[in-house]
């Protein structure tokens, strides 16, 4: 019997990936005059994963994408994309990447098909291969029926799809998506998510920026929270959520007397007089819940109902980035939103 070797998990739980990263950056810095846009960004993104750069408007997301995709030069720091240095080998980087910016970068005066063929020509694919690739992408992105219509007549969702299709003509190894779903309706957003998942399944590395927490949660293997030009947190969605010690159990009562008795038992709990509810801190795990219920039983208290609250990425985001003011992340007061589920 051959011995089995357990495959190591690719989606790292903090383990450094052994393979060369698709994107590696250290100390990226960029300033426009007095204004510092990026203040030392470090990134290490394993090949074949989805990385989300999450942050509010003006955090520096687009600037990061522009630097990594060789559109602008950084003032300081180094970065390698697909194994090539962005400063010394920008053409090699360009040959390996595809970029879909925040605004659809297509030729409005050309048809959808002509736009794709333009890309094929610029990638020097050759006539036959270019046509085949264009056809395939038109079908895949559901725009085959409007292939001969001018891009100018397209809706926002269709423009984004054509834009992404153009990015994919060259089958890039690393794809940058700068806020790919901003301004899209929910259905187009789902389609975009599906596309990203398919890409990653095919081994492509995706670097996306977003201001939607749900999007990062849905798509990304790892998330970095960018605020004021600094990465204030990085990890998986679960790791980030675990950083907020805001899990709690909420106990509701109908009888004020029961409520008071319970408040006596759980002296550390936060009181919500108006709703006759107690907020008991805890990680929401099974053992903690059992202990809590046992204590209720032992005291003979009847609670009307209870619910478990775990912080979502919104909480993480607000906690880490503060409330618009540029304070250090560590000093910002803990914010836990009450979510009704």
């Amino acid at each position: 019997m051959p011995s089995f070797v357990m495959p190591t998990s690719r989606k790292g739980d903090g383990d450094p990936a052994p393979a060369a990263p698709a994107i590696a950056a250290t100390g990226l810095h960029k300033a426009y005059g007095e204004k510092t846009v990026l203040d030392g960004i470090d990134l290490r993104i394993p090949a074949g994963s989805v990385f989300a750069l999450l942050g509010p408007n003006g955090a520096g997301k687009t600037t990061t994408v522009q630097i990594l995709s060789t559109l602008i030069a950084a003032d300081g720091g180094r970065a390698e994309v697909a194994g090539h240095d962005i400063d010394s080998a920008p053409d090699a980087v360009r040959a390996a990447i595809g970029v879909t910016g925040q605004f659809a970068a297509l030729d409005d005066l050309l048809t959808a098909e002509e736009n794709l063929l333009l890309m094929a020509d610029l990638l020097r694919l050759g006539k036959r291969e270019g046509r085949a690739r264009a056809r395939e992408l038109l079908t895949r992105f559901g725009i085959a029926d409007v292939a001969r219509k001018r891009a100018a007549t397209f809706s926002g969702g269709m423009r984004r799809r054509l834009d992404l299709a153009m990015t994919l003509v060259g089958d890039p190894r690393v794809i940058f998506l700068d806020e790919p779903t901003t301004g899209l309706d929910p259905r187009s957003r789902r389609t975009m998510w599906e596309t990203v998942r398919e890409l990653v399944a095919g081994g492509t590395t995706v670097f996306l920026t977003t201001q939607y927490l749900e999007e990062a949660d849905q798509l990304a293997d790892r998330i970095a929270v960018l605020d004021g030009g600094r990465i204030v947190a990085e990890g998986t969605a679960d790791e980030l959520k675990a950083r907020i010690p805001g899990s709690h159990v909420r106990l509701r009562f109908t009888d004020p007397e029961e409520y008071e008795r319970a408040a006596g038992v759980f002296s550390g709990a936060a009181r919500d007089e108006e709703n006759l509810a107690l907020r008991v801190a805890g990680d929401g795990g099974l053992d903690a819940l059992r202990a809590l219920l046992d204590r209720l039983d032992a005291s003979g208290i009847r609670a009307d109902g209870f619910s478990v609250h775990t912080p979502d990425l919104d909480d993480v985001f607000l906690t880490l980035t503060g409330h618009g003011t540029a304070g250090t992340a560590a000093d910002t007061p803990l914010h836990v939103k009450e979510t009704l589920r």
Partner: protein, 261 residues
């Protein structure tokens, strides 16, 4: 690398095809550039031709002969506006960022625009020449001189177009891009295109005699109507080379550094 030049040509041809597609699909833009010189020709021949002709010691037909080379020079200059507009609209519509993140020859975006514009300008000039011939313009030029005239006009078109590319790049909006080349278009008026430079007031006359369009106009006039060319031929070519170089270097540095959203 020997393939570098091959790629440069291939990419430029791809970009040229794109621009020609635009031009054929929207001919109004290109033909508009021919309309201005044709209207000017009509205006100056029929409205002012008699008196200007008389002032220069001839008649309307003599003035048509004097004017036509100047109108052709003006036609080249007015073709530059569409270049600036097309470049600017590419810059503002985001497709430029796509090109800049692709592994293509960096200058091909500009060369594609320039080649497309020069071809468009030459088509317009053929129309203008046809119009002038219909109005009664007769040239003394031999086929060789016609060829030289065409060569000179092409060189001027390249120079003016290369200068229009960076003018389009520095423009924030298409509107301002269409205004900037106005200066270039206006310049032939302050030269010998319409009246002899020597007939202007002293200060202006000095400017008119030394600005680039005057030797160009005089050379073309010499080739088409047999007037004295002298040193103007070489001066014109030197101006063309200089302006082309400035336009090329300027747009190349802008292409590298400018990002717009």
């Amino acid at each position: 690398m020997s393939s570098t030049l091959g790629y440069a040509v291939q990419d430029s041809m791809t970009m040229l095809r794109r621009n020609l597609k635009h031009a054929i699909r929207y001919p109004a833009v290109g033909l508009g550039s021919a309309l201005t010189p044709i209207l000017m020709l009509l205006l100056f021949v029929y409205a002012f031709g008699d008196s200007i002709g008389a002032g220069m010691g001839g008649d309307r037909d003599a003035y048509l002969e004097y004017l036509t080379p100047g109108i052709l020079i003006m036609g080249v200059a007015s073709g530059s506006m569409s270049t600036s507009v097309a470049v600017c609209s590419d810059m503002t519509e985001g497709i430029i960022n796509r090109f800049r993140t692709m592994n293509i020859t960096r200058s091909s975006f500009m060369t594609g625009h320039v080649l497309g514009s020069v071809l468009g300008t030459m088509v317009c000039l053929v129309l203008v020449v046809g119009f002038a011939l219909a109005l009664g313009f007769r040239s003394s030029a031999s086929p060789l001189q016609w060829l030289a005239a065409a060569g000179l006009l092409t060189a001027i078109a390249f120079a003016v177009t290369w200068l229009s590319v960076p003018l389009g790049m520095i423009s924030q909006t298409v509107e301002s891009a269409s205004n900037k080349p106005l200066l270039v278009q206006f310049l032939p008026f302050l030269g010998s295109a319409f009246v002899p430079a020597g007939s202007m007031s002293p200060g202006l006359s000095w400017f008119a005699e030394n600005q680039p369009f005057t030797p160009m106009t005089e050379t073309l006039r010499g080739l088409l109507t047999g007037s004295e060319i002298g040193a103007d031929g070489w001066i014109s070519l030197a101006w063309c080379a200089g302006i082309t170089l400035i336009g090329y270097l300027w747009s190349r540095s802008l292409f590298r550094t400018t990002t717009k959203r």
